[in-house]
């Protein structure tokens, strides 16, 4: 009988790291395709819908880019917390709160004119996200409460808050009793160019450049990196864990809230119930995009583009094969699991010995 042994790796080359990484992604996609084949789908058709159609047909490219923007901005924020060794999964809730704040501003100051209305809306979104992120931030910084639990739970609170508003005080009288709010005033809608939000893409790219500079070239970024790599040494060197926790949560909350604001003002125009809510679970998708980028800000661009393609492709598959809503989440989950699981290959060498 062959004997299988696991040996710990003592050195890992960059080549191996990148290769493992690409293979794990491909493996995740293959696993998903196997599920689809079990559903009766055709292999080539699935590949075409996942990787070719989302960027070749103009109609599909528009949809891909529509996901690209919120995923890029939100994952950029999550990247900051992950760099500090803080595992926030709360971008979803922060994004939702951003959209709620925008709606509140839009309904309260309906008469404001462009561009002040737009600036106000985006600032409101940022504020909403920051407020929601500060709850786990303060709990983590002052009481060392585990952020994974708090951020996850607050996502559900955010959903419920939306539900309360759309079923209750904000329900539109003209919605035929559907739980939807009134559409935003025209002055709160960000214009698109041929169906593509150029403003959104511009904001995302400039944010990527800014965050890249902050992380790599400033003392704030230095503190975040030092704390993330070795909290004990950073603390002993006088870096405040409180400051790092608050700062990273504020930054990631601001970005998620901004993404929520853009979702409402460029895509949805109104709040609605799941699964048609503003967030579209993109706060969770962004977790995958952040890890896919290997926490490298500039790599957020290709990582979020790839995930946007997959979301779009997944939706195409769903629609054409009449599959349930969860199919896109299933794909995301499979890819995340293979990404995490293949870390194992980086830590251990598998030796098979034939006796």
């Amino acid at each position: 009988m062959p004997e299988v042994r696991l040996l710990r790796r003592y050195e890992v080359s960059n080549k191996l790291r990148i290769a493992t990484y690409i293979v794990s992604f491909i493996l995740g996609v293959i696993l998903f395709i196997l599920v689809e084949i079990a559903y009766g789908a055709d292999f080539n058709d699935i590949l075409f819908k996942l990787f070719i159609k989302p960027i070749t047909s103009y109609e599909d490219l528009k949809v891909t880019l529509r996901y690209f923007i919120p995923v890029g901005i939100t994952s950029l924020g999550l990247l900051i917390t992950y760099r500090a060794g803080i595992y926030s999964i709360g971008a979803e809730g922060q994004l939702v709160l951003g959209s709620i704040f925008v709606a509140w501003v839009a309904y309260s100051f309906a008469s404001l004119e462009k561009p002040i209305s737009i600036v106000m809306a985006l600032l409101a979104g940022v504020l909403g996200g920051v407020m929601w992120a500060l709850i786990p931030g303060v709990l983590k910084g002052f009481l060392n409460v585990n952020e994974v639990l708090t951020t996850l739970m607050l996502n559900f609170v955010a959903y419920s808050l939306t539900d309360y508003l759309i079923y209750g005080p904000w329900r539109s009288p003209k919605s035929f009793n559907f739980p939807l709010t009134e559409p935003l005033n025209e002055s709160y809608i960000i214009p698109t160019y041929m169906g593509v939000s150029i403003i959104g893409i511009a904001i995302m790219i400039s944010l990527i450049v800014i965050i890249n500079v902050i992380i790599k070239y400033t003392s704030i970024g230095y503190e975040i990196r030092a704390y993330g790599y070795n909290p004990a040494a950073a603390y002993a060197a006088g870096i405040s864990p409180r400051k790092v926790a608050l700062l990273t949560f504020i930054l990631s909350g601001a970005l998620a809230g901004l993404a929520g604001a853009l979702q409402l003002t460029t895509v949805h125009y109104r709040l609605g119930p799941k699964p048609w809510s503003v967030s579209e679970s993109l706060g969770y998708t962004s977790i995958i995009a952040a890890w896919l980028s290997r926490l490298e800000p500039l790599a957020i661009l290709p990582a979020s583009m790839l995930l946007a393609m997959l979301i779009n492709g997944g939706l195409n598959i769903k629609a054409s094969l009449g599959q349930p809503e969860g199919i896109v989440n299933l794909m995301n989950g499979i890819i995340l699991i293979t990404l995490v699981a293949t870390e194992f290959v980086l830590n251990y060498r598998v030796v098979i010995k034939l006796r």
């Binding site: 050195e11 003392s219 006088g238």
Partner: protein, 525 residues
């Protein structure tokens, strides 16, 4: 149990023969590279049964790499290994164990929450999946009694001292019936007394016909205990002869090679002062708990004056770690006060202490001293990165200049200031930390085992720097398990035992005998 007896007779027979012409283990032409670094270069040596064979060399000389090859952790790029004249291939540690070669690691690899027996059972393959660990209690007791090791199979590993944990590793090697025991720097954490006891055990082992390979960087130790000494320098064997053919000075020269002139001799001058200097560190009735909530530091009071080195000697595990962490601010105190240059910093964050001039040379360098994933240059500014930044932006050019200057000044071996700090050798990491900590506006230095595991050149450099910073007027609290170091450097010597200061003497009145007694709790104060 029967196995042990059978093997014992086997060993006795082997020992009764006269010196065999075939060595027990022959290493021939072994080379090993890591990337661009040549760790071992055509290394050949013979290890005979009934001998303690010292592998002597500085940090980075290739001793540990060689040990890892003999234990099957690394595979050599070229060369081969023979056991009793037969070529063998060591692909994994399991292979090595099956040939009777066992490595006793420098830092014991044990599962803290399990008992001694449970830890040992993990290494025994033929115990079966469902049998009780109690089966090996008898075997453990038998071996412990035979070699005078005071361990019981039921003891929980986390309650053991460092030297006891090392004995668990040694027991493991004996249970596995090791014919060749490789010990990697076994004495770095031991007191003189514990070290002598270990050497007695090693003698017993070779008397049974086993071979012991003792890896060390201490010349005195190699001369004290070994029968044969092989000197490694930069991955190559520079000399391999019976001990009797060496003397101390020759060995130092062999180890250091052309570097020998780089080391300025340390002048251990102890200054006399007329004006009474002020206290820079005052500790009053300090009580500190350990990780499991038991009091580890008991009513400790002490003070350090400017321009003075106060040494705390003691066996590891007597509260030194907790005391050091409380002073730096990594551990809360139960009661008592810590005052730095007149400012009460009790239970304040480390930042407040750094602001008041506290420098820290930690015992656990990788955990508290550096951020291994960051570059060497970035680690140089870990404590004062703000001084290198303007409007939040870090001036990387200034940082690189500063790093290059220090790398030259302290002879830190690194390919580039942009290399990750964790790839440096232990000695170079310590040089980085020392240069960073003592370069600041330092009023008080807390140095905890500052030369643990360092080679001669690095240790001397650290000692020199400590004496320099003392001469510049800083007060130093030196907590060290190396009694020689404490005696060499300190103006005043305290001994810590079971969390209390049990002995306090100025350097002109000290008696080494009393200090050693105090360290073992044998002194009736």
């Amino acid at each position: 149990m029967n196995d042990v007896e059978v093997n014992k007779s086997l060993f006795l027979n082997a020992h009764n023969l006269s010196r065999p012409t075939i060595p027990l283990l022959r290493v021939k032409g072994i080379s090993k590279r890591f990337g661009n670094v040549i760790a071992l270069d055509d290394v050949s040596l013979d290890i005979y049964d009934g001998e303690i064979h010292a592998l002597l060399g500085e940090n980075g000389a290739g001793k540990t790499t060689l040990a890892n090859i003999l234990y099957g952790i690394y595979q050599p790029d070229s060369g081969y290994i023979e056991l009793s004249g037969r070529k063998i291939k060591l692909g994994t540690p399991q292979d090595a164990i099956s040939y009777g070669i066992v490595l006793v690691q420098q830092y014991p690899m044990l599962i803290d929450k399990m008992t001694v027996a449970e830890n040992l059972a993990l290494s025994i393959k033929d115990l079966g999946y469902l049998s009780s660990v109690r089966k090996i209690y008898g075997l453990i007791r038998e071996i412990s009694i035979k070699y005078d090791i005071s361990l019981e199979p039921e003891m929980i590993v986390s309650n053991l001292s460092f030297s006891e944990k090392q004995y668990v590793e040694l027991l493991r090697a004996l249970i596995l019936n090791a014919k060749i025991l490789i010990l990697d720097e076994p004495t770095t954490m031991l007191t003189t007394y514990e070290r002598r006891k270990l050497f007695v055990i090693l003698r017993k082992l070779i008397d049974e016909g086993r071979a012991v390979v003792l890896i060390t960087h201490k010349v005195s130790e190699a001369l004290e205990v070994s029968d044969r000494i092989t000197v490694l320098r930069r991955g190559a064997v520079v000399s391999s002869r019976p001990k009797s053919e060496y003397d101390y000075n020759e060995l130092v020269k062999l180890i250091m090679g052309s570097n020998v002139n780089d080391v300025t001799p340390v002048k251990y001058i102890h200054r006399q002062r007329s004006a009474p200097p002020e206290d820079v560190l005052v500790i009053k009735e300090l009580n500190v708990a350990n990780d499991i909530g038991l009091i580890a530091v008991r009513n400790v009071s002490l003070s350090v004056k400017a321009g003075e080195i106060v040494g705390i000697a003691g066996v590891s595990g007597n509260g030194q770690k907790e005391l050091a962490e409380a002073i730096v601010g990594l551990r809360r105190v139960r009661s008592g006060r810590i005052v730095l240059s007149g400012v009460d910093v009790t239970n304040k964050e480390p930042y407040e202490r750094i602001k008041n001039g506290l420098a820290y040379i930690p015992e656990d360098r990788l955990k508290y001293g550096i951020v291994g994933e960051m570059s060497v240059a970035e680690n140089f500014i870990l404590k004062n990165y703000k001084a290198f930044s303007k409007l939040l932006f870090i001036n990387m050019r200034k940082v690189m200049d500063f790093a290059s200057k220090n790398i030259d000044l302290y002879h830190i071996v690194t390919r580039s200031p942009l290399e990750r700090a964790k790839v440096l050798s232990g000695g170079n990491i310590q040089k980085l930390i020392v240069s960073r900590e003592l370069g600041l506006n330092t009023k008080v230095v807390l140095a905890h085992n500052p030369t643990l595991g360092l080679d001669i050149a690095s240790a001397k450099l650290v000692h020199n720097e400590l004496l320099n910073v003392r001469d510049r007027g800083a007060g130093i609290l030196l907590i060290s398990e190396d009694l020689d170091e404490v005696i060499k450097l300190s103006d005043r010597i305290l001994v810590m035992y079971r969390g209390s200061i049990v002995y306090d003497v100025s350097r002109d009145k000290l008696s080494i005998g009393d200090i050693e007694k105090a360290m073992l709790g044998l002194l009736n104060a």
